[in-house]
């Protein structure tokens, strides 16, 4: 048989067509797609003993209890702890994926100097060289923790250094309120559990404010009136939304005060306790709802209705996103002192300085005496262009530091995440890799303290910020020592109770024999909660006192609003992006 060229092509062509009508190519296609579905990059699941660990979330100041499901030592899922007195079993979206953070692709795993990887010893020596004789600022975005004492100590041992921090913005209203009493009342807290009406001036009550779990679990028990210029998430879920003109909150507060005082809706006990009730009447005289309506953009009858509704709506708490005196003062006018605004009792012992020293006046406008007290400086209190070396133990709010930095300032970021504007980035452990004490959030009813035990081993290339500073100044001690000292000081108080996360059991602190036992308890998953104050009665107050003119913003926000200052799990970015639930700016 002769097979010419034409026959050959005919055979091949007809075979190809014929083959298409057989299962062979389709089966091969199907099989190959299945093989490739299970290629080596598809991860295999870890096998191992399932365990449960308890700890406390340190991503934001709320300090929620965390139950971690682990395979061996590796956490594979996080959930809230129902027994936690503050978070009540809730964990925010960021906290739910906190165990992903150690593996985040943008994590820094080696010291960087001007973007180039350098060995740790070289980074230490360069920072040591930079701070020699320079005016140094240590920025601590999360004050009040034991490691803050280490940072303070570091600032104290350097010849020209200052410790900078900023109070949490969300506690500004309580700080203003504290200044309205004739005598010091200590730290104040919010008894949301007693409130039946919440009047919020712009605070995102239902969107990550305070301790989110506590607020949301309590939501069914209070009526929410939201005063806000735009339809925020909280405004859309509030019982009443008052769309106010921006900046008119104080006028509305005074108009509500006007209605209350003129219609005798104020408790006589409040009138007796107010040292300046007459002055307050004069102050509110000009704010008749009819006048205030023009300022606020809210109809006068709505202002009357709101004031009356709130006055008879049971215990009221007024929450201000800012710190305006007239708004904060409404709490006192509604009789909230001792009901919804409470004294926190004692305080968990704070980490203290071990050395005090005067500082160079060239760095500050203020006097050195302030340094010797428990308070701290804000970046805004520093002279422009005076910081020669900035060492930041966390995210750097560049807008606050830009003017304060000297022209050739060296900026050292001690953070797990790369900051391209910093000269040096020293890789720090992420939240689930550190031992950290967690004080009470600003809205807590009583003082609290827990200690977060690490869930994961830190990556070999990273170093704790305090340990890095200890490499420069060995006398600082370790964070573990500072935490231990704080726990020992707490144990000496013999006050309060310790609540276990595992079973919710409560033990009096006085029943725990040694500080070591207390530390063991706290590290295993427990929170110390203070007793109610022995003297819950408030002194006389002044209703017409002005609040702070402004408050410095801190990056330490609570709940999922902390997303702005954090590098979150990629799964959050993905889901927020794909669902369109939050825009990319937020995620």
């Amino acid at each position: 048989m002769n097979l010419d060229r034409r026959d050959f092509f005919k055979f091949v062509g007809s075979s190809a067509v014929g083959l298409a009508f057989t299962p062979v190519p389709w089966t091969l296609l199907n099989d190959s797609s299945k093989w490739s579905q299970n290629w080596s990059w598809i991860p295999r699941l870890q096998k191992g003993e399932l365990r449960t660990k308890f700890t406390t979330c340190t991503l934001c100041p709320a300090g929620c209890g965390v139950k971690a499901r682990c395979v061996g030592a590796q956490p594979v899922g996080l959930a809230g702890v129902a027994a936690h007195p503050s978070s009540r079993g809730a964990l925010c979206p960021i906290g739910l994926a906190a165990h992903h953070q150690p593996y985040h692709p943008s994590r820094v795993r080696q010291p960087l100097w001007h973007g180039k990887a350098v060995p740790m010893e070289e980074a230490v020596s360069r920072v040591r060289q930079a701070i020699a004789g320079a005016e140094v600022a240590i920025w601590d975005p999360n004050p009040g923790r034991a490691r803050s004492a280490v940072y303070r100590r570091f600032a104290a041992v350097l010849p020209h250094a200052v410790y900078l921090t900023a109070p949490a913005p969300e506690g500004a209203m309580l700080r203003t309120l504290g200044q309205m009493f004739e005598k010091p009342v200590g730290e104040l807290g919010i008894d949301l559990e007693s409130a039946r009406t919440v009047l919020s001036f712009g605070a995102p009550i239902l969107d990550g404010w305070g301790t989110p779990g506590r607020v949301l679990k309590q939501r069914a028990n209070f009526r929410l009136i939201q005063v806000e210029p735009e339809l925020s998430r909280t405004a859309s879920l509030a019982n009443v939304w008052l769309a106010i003109r921006p900046g008119a909150e104080a006028a509305l507060a005074l108009a509500i005060g006007h209605v209350l005082t003129r219609e005798n809706l104020v408790d006589p006990a409040v009138v007796r306790n107010a040292a300046d009730y007459r002055e307050y009447l004069e102050m509110t005289a000009a704010y008749q709802p009819e006048n205030a309506a023009a300022i606020c953009g809210i109809p006068a009858d709505k202002i009357y209705e709101t004031a009356r509704e709130v006055a008879i709506g049971g215990p009221v708490v007024v929450i201000d996103e800012g710190a305006q005196g007239p708004v904060a003062g409404l709490n006192l006018l509604f009789g909230g002192a001792g009901r919804t605004i409470v004294k926190r009792g004692g305080r968990a012992p704070q980490p203290l300085l071990t050395r005090k020293k005067p500082l160079s006046d060239s760095v500050f406008r203020g006097s050195c005496e302030k340094w010797l007290s428990d308070t701290s400086f804000c970046p805004e209190e520093i002279d422009n262009g005076s910081i020669q070396v900035l060492i930041a133990a966390g995210a750097i709010p560049w807008d606050r530091f830009e003017k304060r930095l000297a022209p050739k300032a060296v900026v050292v970021s001690l953070s797990p995440w790369n900051d391209v504007r910093a000269d040096a980035v020293i890789p720090a452990p992420v939240a689930v890799e550190s031992t950290m004490d967690v004080p009470a959030p600003f809205d807590a009813r009583t003082d609290m303290l827990s200690v977060a035990a690490p869930l994961s081993e830190p990556h070999p290339g990273v170093i704790d910020p305090a340990a890095f500073l200890a490499k420069i100044e060995p006398s600082l001690g370790t964070v573990e020592d500072a935490v231990q000292a704080r726990i020992a000081a707490l144990h000496r108080t013999r006050r309060g109770s310790v609540i276990s996360y595992a079973d919710g059991s409560t033990k009096r602190l006085s029943e725990i024999p040694t500080p070591e036992d207390l530390q063991k308890n706290l590290l295993a998953g427990a929170v110390w909660i203070d007793d109610p104050p022995t003297d819950p009665v408030f002194p006389r107050f002044s209703l017409s006192a002005n609040g702070q003119a402004g408050h410095a913003l801190s990056p330490a926000r609570t709940g999922w609003r902390a997303v702005h200052g954090l590098t979150v799990s990629p799964i959050l970015s993905k889901l927020y992006q794909e669902s369109g639930l939050r825009d990319r700016r937020e995620a």
């Binding site: 889901l575 669902s579 639930l581």
Partner: protein, 252 residues
């Protein structure tokens, strides 16, 4: 009254007046079910969100404008289940013991008929291999296999948790699972406590009671698919928007 598994009809009631749209349910679901962080090209159309929270609005303007959040997952249709009807591979089944509509990725052909048939748009296709950043695969839940490229997936009420609850019940010598022992991840994670889960066939459960409350409703009831996901709201416009599922009020 205790019930046997053969009679169970698991479902959820989601209180839309409590939902604040924080997204904790979506995160908890993704972590529990090993949903991979998105491929660079993922978007709202091709990403995988077994539970997705939509923001809906009442269409008003000014001070009358209001919005609410509507978490939508597989509605676990009880009748005329569209995805079951169209699947040529029998990759979708209704478990007679629980009433849960199960998707079996091993059987899935990837034809996506079920996605086209689902009136709730609650099914998602794996367009890419599931890939995690280096090291993050250690955080995968050992009870749930990652799905391969080319298959459809959806909410299955965290079947890993159901199996674990059954194993615990069996270890304790019980035939039935303890209702408190089985909760999907979204229910456990919701910080507002907006989701109630339970056996709708048992009138004693909180879920069954909530499903029969006057302000309860289901999505697209006119289709007759008898979903086992109920929603609640005392705001009439939210109920109306949910029942009509008007496209113009849904954003996302």
């Amino acid at each position: 009254m205790p019930r046997t598994q053969g009679q169970a009809r698991y479902g959820m009631v989601i209180d839309l007046d409590r939902c604040t749209g924080c997204g904790a349910c979506m995160i908890a679901c993704a972590v529990e079910n090993n949903v991979a962080p998105g491929h660079a090209q993922t978007n709202q159309r091709n990403g995988i969100t077994p539970i997705r929270v939509f923001q809906i609005e009442n269409g008003e303007t000014g001070a009358s404008r209001r919005s609410a959040f509507l978490p939508v997952m597989c509605q676990q249709c009880g009748e005329h289940t569209p995805c079951v009807s169209v699947c040529p591979q029998q990759a979708v089944e209704i478990d007679p013991a629980t009433g849960i509509v199960h998707q079996m990725p091993q059987r899935c052909l990837g034809c996506r008929y079920c996605m086209a048939a689902c009136p709730y748009h609650a099914r998602y296709f794996n367009w890419w291999d599931p890939e995690w950043p280096a090291g993050m695969e250690k955080t995968l839940n050992p009870a749930v296999s990652p799905r391969m490229r080319g298959v459809v997936e959806k909410c299955n009420f965290c079947h890993g948790r159901l199996h674990a609850a059954r194993a615990r019940a069996a270890a304790a010598g019980r035939e039935e699972i303890d209702p408190a022992d089985y909760q999907p991840a979204c229910v456990e994670a919701c910080p507002a406590g907006a989701i109630t889960f339970g056996d709708l066939a048992d009138p004693a459960t909180e879920a069954a009671r909530a499903a029969h409350s006057p302000d309860a409703f289901r999505l697209l009831p006119r289709l007759g698919t008898e979903p086992k996901i109920y929603y609640r709201s005392n705001r009439p416009w939210v109920r109306r928007a949910g029942e009509e599922s008007r496209q113009e009020v849904a954003r996302g």
